[in-house]
Amino acid sequence: MKTFVRLLAFVKPFWKGVLLSIFTSAATVGSSIGLLGTSAYLISFAALQPSIAYLQMAIVGVRFFGLARGLFRYLERLSSHSVNFRLLARLRVWFYCELEPLAPARLMNYRGGDLLQRAVGDIEVLENFYIRVIAPPLAALLVTLGAGWLMTGWHPELASVLAGGLLLGGIAVPWLAHRISQAPGRGLAAARAQMSATYIESLQGLADLLAYGQESALRDRMSQSESRLAAVQMRLAWSGGVGNALGQLVGNLTLVAILLVAIPLVRAGQLDGVLLAVVSLVTLASFEAVAPLPQAAQMLEASLESARRLFELVDAQPAVLEPASPLPPPAGSELRVSNLTHRYTAAQPPALQGLDLDLPPGCKVALVGHSGAGKSTLLALLMRFWDAPAGVIILDNQDIRDYRSEDARRVFAFVPQSTYLFTSTLRQNLHLARPDAPDQDIHAVLEQAGLRDWLEQLPNGLDTWLGERGQQLSGGECQRLAVARALLQDAPVVLLDEPTAHLDAITEQELIETLHRVLAGKTVLWASHSLTGMQWMDEIVVLESGRAVERGTHAQLIKKGGLYATMYRNQHDELIADL
């Protein structure tokens, strides 16, 4: 119920559109009722062979309703679609604005695209909430009231029979149809998911399956999934069929009931015989109003589920709270980290413990260690994706938490492990770093990042589309693009979060040489898993389980013969440069 009320709030700005669509939808059915009612009146009255003058009204009515239905339907579709699109836009902006402060800290538990894809789907479900869920019952109510009022004029008993039938068809049938299809509907989702999992794992593992001669086992598993799915689908077909048959049955039975009531009334002279055909056809026509209600019942549940998921997601507490009265943006970029400790959740061991670090302008520091040692955690804290519970980060002599997080972030250019490219042009992807950058600057950073040859062979230069449906980039090209972005941003401090993690050795070597060249004047904090290019750093901090266990230059650490020296020796032996 709370979800429902919260959802209703979204419709408020569009109430006029919603009302219009409800009214036109009721008017469409009303026109049908009018058309059949006046037609029945026309022929019944004509059968009594009166003067043609008496029929003129009825003929005009028939023509009017014949035209009106199409026009109302047209208006209804336009108004309802307009509401849908406005609502969709509003839901998207709302969801984005709510999600923005949560990223990335509160979204980490959700696996990658999965959650977001579902959220996008949920929003699309909600888009239809008002038109498919709210509007049909209200339109049906209007039609019931209108048809009831019409019938009352002829005889109140007829009105109560029709209203009873419509209520049965509009409430009981949808409720029942929904009830009986609920279990098989859920079963269908489960059977589909199972089938999908079987398919995906089998196709991905085709080499393994064929190599191990598992063809027939695979066929068996597939046909098992298939027959389970088929059984559920048939059960769903039965319950759907029962729902539809019941809907039709209730309408027709109401007709019989109307006849049973109306015939004695005609005989008793309480109802004009001319109206017998009219009440019959009005009854049949008015059931069109309740026809969409079973679907509305199903949509209601789907909408509430989608809404619950979205609300749950956006109701999370942001990991970073903005200061009530922020300092002006930092002027300098000097950084000092002291006694910094961080835990992601209370149950987990600390990801970072009592770390101290000085980063004067121009200084180059490497953070090395196995995965999970706390390298990325420090970078995430500097970027204010999280706030540390203990210890402090001092930026330009002030606690970083006293700045607006956006202002603090402006000090940093961040090069991640894998670069996200938006589905848009190369230029737009780079403009994200500096929206007003002229093309010559873009060319300059691409050249610096070693992408000039790549750019020259692109079909449309800076206008080439990247991302999922665009130009495919190799891992090395992607990372170089991230470097170009960082250069364009021209921030004083560059944070490198294992930018070469997914690259092969030769590409890694080349990229590190590029970084060495282009980042000469910047402050650099470089988290790295591999120990390539360490000679270039002013200080290397070796992290283990969140603690700094060794620090010094490459030469010092090798000489010391500790963890760093062991790691270096291991990596030296480990891989050959292919991939």
Partner: protein, 571 residues
């Protein structure tokens, strides 16, 4: 089976048409009897009972029709998926590797499911759109020629308009659909890149952009819809205006006593029923079309030529009889080339070399050099487009692939785990493996330590919905499978990533053990492995550029020593 259900669907559709007419007939008779015939309730009771029976029958027909249509859909879909599966098996992993990830399973799942609407909604509606109007016409013509003509003349207007408007609107609609999916994609893209936007300080500005893009889309779409919805308007108008024309026309003739009331009423009741299925066909048209579009992709997959693959179950001529053990035979590539259909360049070109029994052969080269293709050739997933592979004196393509693979243990880079218990996942390598054999294989691959940590041990469910194994653990499982298989030929794709020291040491030891007394082809990523190899094959752009031992190749310089030096420079 599907044919029987389809026939039932058609028959039930026809029965539905007849019942519509019967219902109109009995209702007309009741009203006429009371209104003009002066009958009372008891006198029309037999007709009321008839009406009730017809109504009940109609409900039954609706139910039966839906169930029958679903039965058709279910069977057709199952049949199609079976065809697709067999096709995937025949095309093998080489085909799969060249498709976009997930696209094939999407075609088999969503693609086939999209056909559901076609079979369970569109097709029955086509039947109804044919049956009901026809039945109505047959009933109306003998009663009143003029009304029959009105119906007959106006009926084709609906499909004609539908097709005409549909053709006009199709392009626009498709463009709109594209715009819609682009906008969805834009939104998803934004959400997925949220962290990047935040890091670049652009996340707030983006909210406005979302609103802007949506609003622009709404305006453009509404402008288009104003036109495309005219189709709905026209369809409604044809139906309702025709009904109005019929009503007026029979009304006037009733006035002059040229038509019986009962016939007139019948025609009036039946007229909307005449147009209804035609209009519904228009509504379901979209479902039908998206089904046809989905079918396009499915048939495209089914029609993929199989020239470069071997049928997995073909009975081949075997000049050397039923030989099933090739462990002492050398495997020789003689001028082997391989080219994927539709590609300009061959992935492998003119390879000639031999693998002697018991040898450890390492394959090295940068990514894209053709290493996996070579492994697939040896596994018999694909056939050389030129040259031949010989096993002893036999050609590999003359050997039954199932029998040949019995000789092979395969360890891929990313071993795939299937839904089921850990034990079931092991038995993929040997279906009838006993508990001890499994245990022994697991010990040698270092999998026992993993199993011991799991709460349900060998009965732990893994794969989708079960517990997840880490990369290192999955790797151990793959090695354990290979030990369990105990095959004379091992084909191994070494992990290319850095492993932590513990897994690294274990992997090295296990591979060393696996190689003992077996013929091994390894796609090597580790210095340790190449040092031990009897022969190293160096691939560059599909060609075999160097061949020899580590020391020989290091001494002679060239591609191999470049690769090794870059690897060393890395640390």
């Amino acid at each position: 089976m599907a044919k029987g259900a389809l026939l039932l669907t058609v028959l039930l559709g026809l029965a539905g048409g007849l019942l519509v007419i019967a219902q109109a007939g009995s209702l007309a008779r009741i009203v006429d009897g009371v209104f003009l015939g002066g009958k009372n309730l008891e006198q029309v009771m037999p007709w009321l009972v008839t009406l009730l029976i017809i109504i009940l029958l109609r409900a039954g027909v609706v139910l039966g029709g839906e169930v029958a249509a679903s039965a058709v859909a279910v069977r057709v879909k199952a049949g199609l998926r079976e065809l697709l599966l067999e096709k995937f098996l025949r095309l093998g992993p080489a085909y799969q590797a060249r498709q976009q990830s997930g696209e094939l399973s999407a075609a088999a799942l969503q693609g086939v499911d999209n056909l559901d609407a076609y079979f369970s909604q569109f097709l029955p509606q086509v039947v109804l759109a044919g049956a009901i109007p026809l039945a109505v016409l047959v009933a109306v013509f003998p009663r009143d020629l003029l009304s029959g003509v009105v119906l007959l003349v106006t009926a084709p207007l609906i499909p004609v308009f539908m097709i005409l408007i549909g053709k006009l609107a199709e392009k626009i609609t498709r463009r709109q659909f594209l715009a819609l999916s682009r906008m969805s994609a834009f939104f998803l893209d934004t959400l997925q890149g949220l962290t990047t936007l935040k890091a670049l300080g652009q996340s707030r500005a983006r909210a406005e952009k979302i609103g802007e893009v949506s609003e622009r889309y709404r305006r453009a779409t509404m402008a288009v819809l104003q036109i495309t919805f005219l189709s709905a308007l026209v369809l409604e108008l044809v139906g309702t205006l025709s009904t109005a024309i019929v009503a007026v026309e029979i009304g006037l003739r009733l006035l002059y006593g040229r038509l019986d009331y009962v016939q007139a009423l019948f025609i009036l009741i039946v007229a909307p029923e005449f147009y209804l299925p035609l209009r519904n066909l228009g509504l379901r048209f979209h479902a039908g079309m998206s089904g046809v579009a989905a079918a396009g992709r499915i048939f495209e997959i089914l029609d993929t030529p199989e020239t470069d693959v071997r049928s997995q179950s073909v009975n081949v001529f075997r000049p050397f009889g039923e030989k099933t053990d090739w462990r002492d035979e050398p495997i020789c590539f003689e001028g082997v080339s391989y080219q994927y259909t539709g590609r300009d360049e061959a992935v492998l070109q003119d390879l000639t070399f031999c693998i002697q029994p018991g040898e450890l052969v390492a394959l090295v080269g940068r990514s894209g050099a053709g290493k996996s293709t070579l492994a697939y050739l040896l596994l018999g997933f694909i056939q050389p487009t030129q040259g031949k592979i010989r096993v002893g004196r036999q050609r590999l393509q003359d050997i039954d692939p199932g029998q040949w693979r019995q000789q092979i243990a395969w360890v891929g880079q990313r071993p795939v785990l299937f839904q089921g218990t850990l034990r079931e996942n092991m038995r993929i390598a040997m279906i009838d493996a006993g508990e001890e054999e499994i245990q022994a294989a697991a010990r040698r691959a270092g999998l026992v330590e993993v199993v011991d940590q799991l709460p349900q041990g060998w009965d732990t469910q893994i794969g989708e919905g079960g517990s997840r194994l880490s990369g290192g653990q999955a790797q151990r499982l793959a090695l354990a499978r290979a030990f369990l298989r105990d095959a004379p030929l091992v084909i191994l794709d070494e992990p290319s990533a850095h492993l932590d020291p513990e897994n690294e040491a274990l992997l090295t030891r296990a591979i060393h053990e696996l190689c003992y007394d077996r013929t091994v082809l390894v796609i090597a990523h580790r210095l340790h492995t190449v040092r031990e190899a009897d022969t190293i094959l160096v691939l560059e752009d599909g060609r075999l550029v160097q061949l020899g031992t580590h020391d020989e190749l290091m001494a002679s310089g060239g591609a191999y020593s470049d690769l090794i030096r870059a690897g060393e420079g890395q640390a």
